[in-house]
Each structure stands twice: as C-alpha cells, then as structure tokens.
Symmetry: D2
Subunit: 132 residues, 4 copies
C-alpha cells in the first residue's frame, strides 16, 4: 500500500454550521474519504474488501483543530500511513488550505469479519509499495 | 395503525448551516423520525420489521419550506397518515414551532424485501386503529 | 447563466444507511452541490453572492427515487434550469449511474437578504448564457 | 456548572451506515448534545451564550470505540466535566447501552468571540455547582 496520498475536497454548504465553519464532526468524514482514496490509489478497493467479507472499523479517532474551514474552501487531505501491524492500521490525516494546516487527525483501524470478529490485517495492506 | 402522531425534536447544532438555520435536507430526516415514532406508538417497531425481512423505502419525498428553524428550537413533528393501499403509504409531516407551521412535507413509502422486490403493504399497517 | 450542467459525485460511506444504500435525504445535499457548480461554471460564485448579502434559499424541494445508489458509486448529477423569474428559480436535478436515472428532483429557490426578506432574483441569474 | 449529566438519545436510521451500525463520526455529534444539555441543566443556555457573543469551539476531540451501536438503540450519554481553567474546558463523554460502555470520548473546548479571538472561560462555567 502507498504510504501517503493527497486529494482535495471542497467544503459543502451542508457541512457548515451556524458558526459559519465546517462542523468539527465532518473532519472525521473527510479522514474516511482520504483513506478510501489512498486504498484506491494503491490498487485496492474498499467496496470489494467489504464484498469479500472484510470490514475496516475505526477503533480510535482523534483530531486537533487549529483553524476553521469555511464553505466552498478547497481543502487538501493528506493521509499518511504511520504503522501497520497484524492487529491494526494507524493513519494520520492532515487537512490543509493553501498549504496551511487547519487540522491534524489520527485514526486507528482494525479489520473485522461480518460478525464483528477481529481478523488479521491482510498482508497486502501491510506491505509498503515500492515506489521506485 | 394510528392516523396521527406528534413528537418533539430539538434542533441540533450540527443540523444548522452557515445561514444559521436548520439545513433543508434535515427536514427529511425529521420526517423519518416522525414515522418511526408513529409506528412505535401504534405498537409496531420498524427495527423488528427489518429483522423480519421487510424494509420501508421512500419512493417520493417533498417539502415546502415556509419559515426557517434555528439551533435549539424545540419543534413539533406532526405525522399524519393520508392513505394506505396495498402498494404504498402516503404521509404528511408538519414541522411546527409554538403552533406556527414552518414546513409541510409529503412522503410516499413502499415496502420491499431484502432483494429490493416490492411487497404488499402488510395488513396491520393498513388497518386504522380504533381509537374509541 | 448556463441552462444545464453535469458533474460527478462519489457516494461516501457516511452517506449510506443500514439498508446499504445512499440515504434518501442525501439526494437533496447532492442537488445543492449541483447548483453550486452550475453557478460556478456560469462564472458566478455562491460564496461571493452570500458575502454580498444575497442568500439563495430552498422554498420547495421534491425527489422521486427510482433505484438505490450504493457506497462508492460514481454518480452523475445533471442540473437543469427549468425557469427563472424575478421571484424564483426552478431547477431539475437528475442523478444517474452509467446512464441510468436513479432519481429525479425538483427544487424551487428564492433569493433573500440577511434579514430573510425576499429579494428579486438578480438579472445575471435570469439571463440565459449565449452558448454560441 | 454541574460536574456530570446524563441524557438518552435514540440512534436514528440516518445515523447508521452500510455496516448497519452508528457511523463513528456521529459520536462526536452526540458529545455535542451531551454538553448542550449539561449546560442547560446547569441553568445556562448555549444559544444565549452565542447571542451574547461568546462561542464555544472544539480544540481537540477524541473517541475510543469499543462496541457498535445500532439503529433504534436507546443510548445513555454521560458527560463529565474533568477540568475547567481560564483557557479551556475538558470533558469526557461516555456512550452506554444497558449499562455497557460502547465508546468513551474526550473533548477540549475553548471560548472565542465572533472574530475567533480566544476569550477567558466565563467564571460561571468554571464554578462547580454546589449540589448540597
């Protein structure tokens, strides 16, 4: 899997709140977009993983909010794989606007089957892609 | 099933947008709360219906927005069953604040099985409850 | 303003529900994306309109749901301006997947000022763009 | 302000995702409900605080997810004020179902004015209510 991935996302009106800013819970939704696209860019596909019976669940999520984002802002999501073991995947997700970091999150993921039983993280998610 | 049901819902901060009002898409979420609780008040339970293999899907939804709702407003949802046939259920949902109508919606529902195939509306949903 | 605009949107995991499909209320969020981008493609910018004191509000919204959309589906939003008068804007929004229409919506919009008072639709929103 | 507050919240269909569980981002929305109602139970009102020009913003949010919640679950939100200084408020929010803890979150809040400038936490938020 790729170690890092960047994509852009534009803040939707629905995602703002009465303070006129991107509501903080939506950052966690953005982190999810980031890891979906990191997986796709690595040649994987989360939808196919699920159809194959493996679900990726969030075990822990955290975010530090530094500056607000606003409606229509074009943000960059930079997702970095920090660590992958047989038990879990740790990712960092930075939200940037014009190079300035607005928020930094960390998410710990585990893999489970349909019944919710923890499964080992598949090998192909653990191998770092050779970018040379 | 009961013909009419009322419940209250308080506008969440997350449900507001940068205009400082309840975002219009959330009214459709409220309508869903209204019909869930109408069903419960009638002695039914949507969760059990689903577990039994019958899903209620929205075929058409519409809403006229008259006045905005704001954060922390305590709203009344009045759900009225307009018509139930073997093919569909038609409901009206009014959103009120202090007796004033802010929005009126109409939703048409159908019943399907897990594969998405249309099923007849169960008898117990079609029978009007004798309130005498 | 352009009469028609198309864009794509990918269904987010957060937008699905326990039925495994795109929750119906999210179609109205997509319609909003469609009209934002139609405006941008026409040389306008909704954010700047708001900063200038004019807000576009939804007066009526309606959608017919024909087939479900699923997580990760790449959908096409086709927004068509049906009618623009001094009082309101009427748009149609079709949601398509591989050319198949999943849902068709209609939205009626009005223009208000910060205090909520109805304003005439600005001329530049009423003039059809000359595409020749 | 009260040190601890409990309220219930029922999981909405819209809040579930294709895994059939409460989507993890919604826990942060629940935490917000918990602190709004803790404030109200303490005799305060967040809406009035905002109208008075003071906004409470989330500086950091974190959650550990232990077990999934499902549609229609009636959950208990237990909000505990851990620490209040002139600079920030630290709260813990536990999400329970039938006494079992499903998730534990921690949120750090700061107070800002309309321009986003940090303000001291008002005295009345810092004083512990005498429950005797």
């Amino acid at each position: 899997m790729l170690r890092q991935h960047e994509m852009t996302v534009r803040v939707r009106y629905k995602e703002t709140d009465a303070m006129g800013v991107l509501h903080h819970a939506n950052y966690f939704v953005y982190f999810e977009l980031g890891r979906t696209e990191l997986l796709r860019a690595s040649g994987g596909n989360y939808r196919k993983m699920e159809e194959g019976g493996l679900l990726v669940v969030v075990v822990k999520a955290e975010c530090r909010f530094r500056r607000p984002a606003h409606y229509d802002d074009l943000l960059t999501l930079r997702t970095t794989v920090l660590r992958v073991t047989r038990a879990k995947i740790e990712q960092q997700c930075e939200v940037l606007r014009d190079g300035e970091c607005l928020a930094v999150g960390h998410v710990t993921l585990a893999v489970v089957d349909r019944s919710g039983k923890v499964q080992p993280v598949p090998d192909w998610l653990r191998e770092e892609e050779d970018e040379t």
